[in-house]
Amino acid sequence: MAAAEHHAAGPLEQFSIEPLIPLNIGRYDVSFSNSAAFMVLAAVLIALLMTSSVKRGALVPGRLQSIAELLYEFVAGMVRDNAGPEARKFVPFVFTLFMFILLGNLLGMIPYTFTFTSHIIVTFALALTVFVMVTILGIVLHGFHFFSLFVPHGVPKVLLPLLVPIEILSYLTRPISLSIRLFANMMAGHTMMAVFSGFAVSMGVALGWLVGIAPLLLVIALTGFEILVAAIQAYVFAILTCLYLRDAIELH
């Protein structure tokens, strides 16, 4: 994040993976990296928030319990509205996904932290989990009939050999676009913030603080905007998961 002032190594420095506990299994480097550390931190924070807030289970919720209940009801409502009532079983899945991405995005907004959602491999793994799960769910629920998803409705038979591959490609696009959307938003936002905070320092040093304050004000505005993007992208990921779930469950 806004680390460009300190190690003036460029705006992409913040994305570098550093092994905290080096570890090799066979030929594979499975070091516990800063990325993994922040994933663990996010998971622990979610678990703490959810368990500590519902432990007391007060009828009139306190602050933490309110947060937990609001988040849960938000996700449960989203799943009900977008994936249909039969998708209620998947509320925990979507909730976990949403919270993990939200915490990953928001933790990255704290200076000196690492944003694990700014790495495509992380977002792609999440998107692939959704994709594989939805596909298996569709096949389990509908059997071979699931593949009628790829046959568009009301199309002349002559065109089917052309349209079915296009539909299949469109289906395979899902994990790619889902992961690129989250990764690109986070990476672009954090790079932009680092670049502008770098401007603030260099312009302030070279042209006086009166000039340097302009990019600083911009960074302040960008910080607010990035917090918004962090929440929106977690929401978009979750809502698209819901739409895919509805596809697999209802199959139109």
Binding site: P85, H153, S177, D247, H252
Partner: protein
């Protein structure tokens, strides 16, 4: 800005998937440039389809038939009883 970016990503992703599949099939079957070309155009088609669906408000559903007159399969009252 958000929806424009979303739709742009959809086109690029469809093209990338098409090119990737075409290239891998080419390597596998030894038909060097041809499947790449074919899948490039299929990927472009899929990208246009994605854009069409996104713009027409049909969500991201593959083969989604909302406007195809198939409403009776999912009666609207099911949305309320959840």
């Amino acid at each position: 800005m958000g929806s424009g970016f979303r739709i742009g990503v959809d086109v690029a992703a469809a093209l990338a998937v098409g090119l990737g599949i075409g290239y891998l099939l080419d390597v596998w079957l030894g038909t060097k440039p041809w499947l790449l070309v074919v899948f490039f155009f299929l990927g472009a088609g899929a990208g246009i389809l994605n854009v069409y669906r996104a713009v027409m408000g049909m969500g991201y559903q593959v083969g989604f038939r909302k406007s195809g007159g198939n409403h009776d399969k999912a009666p609207p009252e099911r949305r309320d009883d959840g």
